[in-house]
């Protein structure tokens, strides 16, 4: 792609990242969540692949490393679920505790980010996972169509 496209994509990536992180972190208060935010960031990565070409992206973003991130995020998610097994698998053990434990007033309220128990943690895990997973899949498809070898 031309230099203009590359520069614009480079600058836009920062905003995409910030917006994606916002959507992930505020998932339990406002519309959004881990899947949506992760998809936003992954679409930013796709934009970079389109602008710079997969060969260029490959130098800084290996799909092997992405799959490590994905595995770790999936592990984080299932481990948070496993910790609840003291009572029941997937028990929301953080509600009422000191971490993310506030309970919002019933009915309409301005919103408080320090609520939700395990939901914010799971949002972050899923966000990382979706981001890494989708980027890795698109990168692998792009590299393979471009005729390069994968792992």
């Amino acid at each position: 792609m031309s230099k203009i496209v590359r520069t614009v994509a480079n600058q836009l990536m920062l905003f995409v990242l910030v917006f994606g992180l916002y959507v992930i972190v505020h998932g339990h208060v406002t519309p959004g969540g881990g899947f949506q935010g992760g998809a936003v960031i992954a679409s930013g990565v796709v934009m970079l692949i389109v602008a710079f070409g997969s060969g260029q992206i490959k130098k800084s973003l290996r799909e092997r490393r992405l799959s490590v991130v994905e595995s770790s995020a999936a592990l984080l998610f299932i481990l948070v679920a496993f910790i609840g097994i003291g009572t029941v698998f997937f028990y929301n053990f953080l509600v009422g505790s000191r971490i993310f434990g506030d309970i919002p007033p019933t009915g309409t309220n301005p919103g408080n980010i320090w609520t939700g128990g395990v939901i914010p943690l799971m949002n972050v895990a899923v966000g990382l996972k979706v981001m890494a997973g989708l980027s890795a899949a698109v990168l692998a498809l792009a590299l393979f169509s471009g005729g390069e070898e994968i792992e």
Binding site: T108, A137, L141
Partner: protein
Amino acid sequence: MAEILSGNFPLVAAIVLMGIGLYILIFRRNLIKIVMGIAILSSSVNLFLVTLGYRTGGIAPIYTEAPEGPMVLPVVQALVLTNIVIAVATSALILSLVIRIYRHTGSLDSKKSRRMKG
């Protein structure tokens, strides 16, 4: 007639979309078009699910700064979110298989490859 149209029209739209998806799956031979057919089928089911959960005058089920009004059903939205991710995953895998098949046979026509019908 007007009553029918205003009544369950969204559900019928979803079902028509499903018909389009099935038509593509049955009659088209291009592998990429089959992927599209599955995507359309999946969207039709999603549309159907979301329509089921709508309440007249409903608002999004989020309490932060919520306006007045009944909230639409949240469970269907969660189901649709799940199904969207599953559809993305399925299409990614099918596309990678299509790329491999194209490498092997040099064609996207399902009749050309040896053992494929439909």
